[in-house]
Amino acid sequence: MRWFWLTFFIVCPIAAVVFCVIAPGMDWWFPSEAGSPLGERIDSLFNLILYIVTGTFIGTQIALVYVLWKSSKKDDERAWFSHGSHNLEVIWTIVPAGILLFIALYQMDVWAEYRVVSKFPKEARKAPVAEVMARQFEWRIRYPEPGRILQIQQQPTDLYAVNELIVPAAKPVMIYLKTQDVQHSFFLPELRVKQDAVPGQIIPVWFEATEPGEYVLVCAELCGWGHYKMGARVVALAEEQFEAAMEELAEEQSDDGFADAGDSDDE
């Protein structure tokens, strides 16, 4: 029986480490490479913590297995009664505390850049690209008219869209996140962005999409029966294409149905 348990407690940790190592190659890992510079730094922080923890894990498992193996031998040796070792206790308090302190300090600048408004990239802070209003169960977007700055109050010239957020790629952009009813969460998994939308608050969120493309936007805070289908898309476009898209949106929104009478009065 003891051989069974011994093997079991050796195989499990080894299997865990092996799976962790091969996971990225087998696509059992993050949804994709981080699509934003800050996302890459978050990923590398994650990996650093993973390595530290893995090292600790392997060390403690080896110790555990050794103890199990040693103490299950049948012999007449008297057990050693340790009366507690003050030094040992100090060591294994200080070392983990030191590691944790290191982690806490090492990640501070990433946290600050991500969450502290005064550390947001200046160009993003000056000209927010849209106000994203989360609502059961969709995302309502309000853009300023091309050439104007987004205001907190609605303006007669604002442009509106739903479930599709268009942003310029390769530069930091900021949105104002609001919610119309309950808590939602603005989650861009590929860009490593997540921010809860809290009723009554206007929360600035910034991110940068390195490459143009379509990114998934999902809600990450249970908000009701439709939470699971509250998906939308963020479309990052190169600068000229972004401006063209905004012009198109402005045109659509001032459609008076007369200019193209004869063909569809839709888009």
Binding site: M133, R135, Q136, F137, E138, R140, R142, I152, Q153, Q154, Q155, P156, Y160, V162, N163, E164, K178, Q180, W225, G226, K229, M230, G231, A232, R233, E252, Q253, S254, D255, D256, G257, F258, A259, A261, S264, D265, D266
Partner: protein
Amino acid sequence: MSIRRKSNILFVLACGFLLAGCDAFSPPDAEFVVREETDQLTSDVSKAVEEELESSFGNPHQLVAWLKLPVDFGGVTGATEESTLEGPLNKFPVKFDPEADDKFVAQFQADDGGFNFGESGARLDWMTGEYAGKSMHVIGYDSESQQLTTKEKVEVPPAAGDTFVLSAGETLKSGRALYMEHCLHCHGVSGDGNGPTAQYLNPRPRDYRLGQFKFKATKPAEKVRQEDLGRVIKYGIPGTYMPSFLLLADEDLHAIVEYVRWLSMRGELEYRVDQELVLASGLTNEIIAERKSDGDEDAEIQEEVDEAVAYMPTMFDELGDQLAESWLLAEEEESLIVPAVARVEDSFESRARGRKFFLEKCTNCHGHKGRGNGSMTEDFQKDEETGELYAEPGLFDIWGNSIKPRNLTKGLYRGGRRPVDLYHRLYGGIGPSKMPNFATTDPKILWDTVNYVLHIPFEKPGEYTEVDKEYFESKKKSGGDEDKAAEQEATPTESEQTATGSTESSDQG
């Protein structure tokens, strides 16, 4: 030992209780809802109605494509080519319609380049020619000779140009699956707006079964277009629980729109059949009981009932034709509301004219300041169908829900916020909500009103005081004392002037 046995029994019992709650093994069957009025009909007649509905539309598990209806049921269409073969044969040279070619390949081509039609073959329905109305089963296709092979052999080959549909119903079936996934829980299995979620929602989800929809670009008397329904599904309705389904693929959106139209046609057919049988023929249990107690002969009544039952298929056919006509008409160019002039430029003068029109026509419901608190919201209104007053004051829509006129100060436009959308609302009105249409008004005035309405959320206090004064002065000169009362009610007081429609940043359009 006995304790061990008891705990085993308890364990087994616990598992039993846990599993007993599992309904997953046999979900309830979905059924189409039967209208109240159909239930009220005498049993022979109501049974006949339900049977006819079942044969023309089927049930949610087994749909029936009634080809009379202008719904894209889907499937691969094509026609036969000239055939040189004779005698009993089961191979026909065919040519698929251009759009259908890709569909055919996508649906039936197997990975190895051959074609797979399933165990029992794909159903082929002949539309015209010798075998019109009959169906066969396709079991093979030769892409070189472009010949279909069917299970059934026929003596006489179909003539060249005979049309067929292969695997009809694909679009409808796909629409059904998507509807069940996305729409059912609010709009209900039958599209009656009474799904499990509906009871928690205000405004209620749309009941399709009267064939009327609020937000359309067609003239007042016409039905809604596929495009209008598509817009609603794609962009949602802000201010209600209808979300936007922007991420749906185009084919999926099309399939859902077709299924919704199909449900609407089914519902409206049942509604009109009921109207005929209840109002025209009076064949409800209640009326028949009355007649019997008045002394009418049983035999006479039974004759009428039998007549109605025999006439049922014809009635369905006639009503089906009418429905098909009205839905097809909605797609025609002549039904679309196209503004006769381009939008009048947005300026204070234009908005002032719009304000005057608003005071003339709109304040009864929308209120003097557009807050949706006009006098009609506090009066008892008459129900046009029954001729009696509603039980509560205020406005009601055709589905019997209590509704409020839009508060225009919020900047939430349910049918869309483009100028053309607002023009459609004004020109076409909103039939189901009893918002009148202004189809005969000068289009320039309509544009002025659109400009005014779009500006209401951004109005400054006292902006239109002079305009209002002008309006009421001119009314006094031409009108009489009845306008004095309106003026006194409408002239803004001090407190009102400082508290006009505010731009609330928490609302989105």
